[in-house]
Symmetry: D5
Subunit: 103 residues, 10 copies
Amino acid sequence: MLFLARMDVVFPESMTDETKADYQHREKAYSGELQRTGVLKGIWRVVGEYANYSIYDVEDNDELQTVLSGFPMFAYMNVKVTPLAKHPNATTDDFFDGNTIQE
Amino acid sequence: MLFLARMDVVFPESMTDETKADYQHREKAYSGELQRTGVLKGIWRVVGEYANYSIYDVEDNDELQTVLSGFPMFAYMNVKVTPLAKHPNATTDDFFDGNTIQE
Amino acid sequence: MLFLARMDVVFPESMTDETKADYQHREKAYSGELQRTGVLKGIWRVVGEYANYSIYDVEDNDELQTVLSGFPMFAYMNVKVTPLAKHPNATTDDFFDGNTIQE
Amino acid sequence: MLFLARMDVVFPESMTDETKADYQHREKAYSGELQRTGVLKGIWRVVGEYANYSIYDVEDNDELQTVLSGFPMFAYMNVKVTPLAKHPNATTDDFFDGNTIQE
Amino acid sequence: MLFLARMDVVFPESMTDETKADYQHREKAYSGELQRTGVLKGIWRVVGEYANYSIYDVEDNDELQTVLSGFPMFAYMNVKVTPLAKHPNATTDDFFDGNTIQE
Amino acid sequence: MLFLARMDVVFPESMTDETKADYQHREKAYSGELQRTGVLKGIWRVVGEYANYSIYDVEDNDELQTVLSGFPMFAYMNVKVTPLAKHPNATTDDFFDGNTIQE
Amino acid sequence: MLFLARMDVVFPESMTDETKADYQHREKAYSGELQRTGVLKGIWRVVGEYANYSIYDVEDNDELQTVLSGFPMFAYMNVKVTPLAKHPNATTDDFFDGNTIQE
Amino acid sequence: MLFLARMDVVFPESMTDETKADYQHREKAYSGELQRTGVLKGIWRVVGEYANYSIYDVEDNDELQTVLSGFPMFAYMNVKVTPLAKHPNATTDDFFDGNTIQE
Amino acid sequence: MLFLARMDVVFPESMTDETKADYQHREKAYSGELQRTGVLKGIWRVVGEYANYSIYDVEDNDELQTVLSGFPMFAYMNVKVTPLAKHPNATTDDFFDGNTIQE
Amino acid sequence: MLFLARMDVVFPESMTDETKADYQHREKAYSGELQRTGVLKGIWRVVGEYANYSIYDVEDNDELQTVLSGFPMFAYMNVKVTPLAKHPNATTDDFFDGNTIQE
């Protein structure tokens, strides 16, 4: 079951560059783990903004809440979640499995 | 180069169900063709709304404009486009090729 | 898995009172059936507006989309869906089973 | 008489983790007490946000104001209240008593 | 128990002046009756807009919904309701009884 | 001449509880004086928010500006003012004189 | 006493050019009369929009409501009114009397 | 050439009353000079807000930018500029010269 | 003197394709003439929307109003105008003269 | 391929004037370099605001992200990017080459 999230990061003014770098380092590790386990199907930078769009594949809302609140930088994020369903015009049940292009 | 689009469909009050069905039929064919040619990487229904989020892979803005304005229902859509860039935490250059999960 | 929905109904100017009444009649039957089968956990009128807040218990996003798009008046509704998770301060896993008050 | 509330929590930058934890501890106790006395009929986490939707059963607006302003974290919350009335399609007067599903 | 409502009237383009006048006539009668029975404590025109702010004194949300939906022009109104509670700085329990000014 | 105001209070993070209490004490005195002199016709708490709706009876805009900017907490308020006129459906010229209910 | 108004005109789709021209003709006469009597102190086109900003000098809110609702095109206008007071940095009580520039 | 500006002032929490007073003193001098030289045609307080509407007469956009950015408190202002053109219903080319009222 | 405009086109539901094509034909001629005379410095399609961003070089606001209201489709456009001034980091007074790139 | 960006600068309250000046100095150098290399086709001040509209010519979204995030003041900017395509009414493929005016 897929959800689209838009995440905007806002660090407080008082945070040092060192602390920011540490957060970003831990964020990268957490994000990578979610990708490797197939929970985070895709993540992209919104051009010009400290923000991303990302797509999550989870069992239910509770798992999604656990996944999102586990981000090291969660306390500094504004997150908006959109539940996604299969589109009637979709030619596949899974756009991420590499089999979409059939010709 | 990827773009995220949110498309909201608003049919005019006077449109007959038959005309709507015809639009939807042609829309499905057009959308399917875009998927088969690798331009439309994914499309999902926004739950509860006559809307979708979709991701396009195009050469440039002019191609994207051609692709979007080619939708049979384009005149009845509100479309918002977000340019996407590679995210520093992404573990792959292509989330749609089926090779993302490495374990 | 629970979702909160806010539904706002906007009938077109040209719809006759008779047609509206027919829609409302079928809507009531559909809504009642969803309540009897435990999908629609609660529905309340937003005071002063032709709108409701309602809570759905479904297996996944696809089922929710099926349930919502099945409303007879769906084409005349603006629906906004919010995924709900268990709250850390909740004293029960199910607020609708009548066992919440423990004293 | 029911009211839906959406509560968004925003802690100030200067608050220590220890103070936050203390607030959350007292909040949980207060919330639990409201649930046990039947004032707080349900509370759910908005997925991805430090926010909840909650439903209150009170005698009047003054009681609701007393209940809401009594939350230990009230000074750090943005609260939006929506008065709820019986919906014409509701099959029960009380969705929380466990008797909704009749089949 | 008091509620503040803001009501904005939007008549459809196709409504004749005669029909509008008939609605306004019935609206005035209904509004007058609510004032005489003490339900509608005050009503004022928002300068420059086809809108009013009005204050209602009702027993509960269901009564308010009945009162508001009873307006002859209800189908052409956008209504936003705000629940009001006693203000800690209020010098009286009832601002409408003519006894507020004490000097 | 009446004006409706909505006032939202936002205290800065650094303000001590003692200072807040002092402001609130002076605010109460100022508000009470305005009520006694008939300038402030009514004031109500917006349920769940550190905000009020209040109605002022003044000679002109300059007097209203003087009254509003005289609030001890004015620097910490967001104030939105709406000019009110007599409503064509009003059954009285003064809803606050205690003579509205005629039956 | 001055008020700033922003007026946006929206004619219905079905109105003929002849009817529009008739409205505009009567509007011009009404507007001119307001200028000659000193009620309408100034009126300017918002560049690129079918809208104006205008400044009114009236005795009270009721007079302003009468003036605004008297515009022939009032039913097709969205009007937002802002009450204006004397600014502490103003060097004159009347910016429209031609005596502002003192050097 | 005229422009309408709305200016909202937001002082930072840490600014002392003395510094504020100094800014306001310099602001008054600057504003007065603009009025005397005929650049600032009018300025009014928005009732209830730390904001003004003001009208500027300049040669071009660059001059307006110079004028606005020259305000001592410019760094603490949110400014929104609206270009104004002659209105077809205006009975004069200059509403500020004292010759508008012709009767 | 430059202005940025964003123009969104909304044709009424009842307009025939033939009429639309006629408008677009006349629009193209008018736009081309503005480009040839150096008034319209640039115009670009907003990808995915029936909208453009365009930059105008005019003597004053009145000329801009004349230019914009002269568009054949002006009655079907929502136009938002932003006055532009020279940027302190600009390396040229005219970005459109082909001499910007100096290396 | 062109993109329009609107950039709003918000410096934190604690930043010294010296630091601001240093940022602005480095910003000017970076911006000038982008102009010399033909990436930044134009940049203009939004009159009255600490903001600009600027147009970028890049190969793809990733390059744009690199360019924008390279601004020294990027962490203090809110940036909104709009992808631009060729407009059907454009008389040239390049409005910046100095050859637009053909008469």
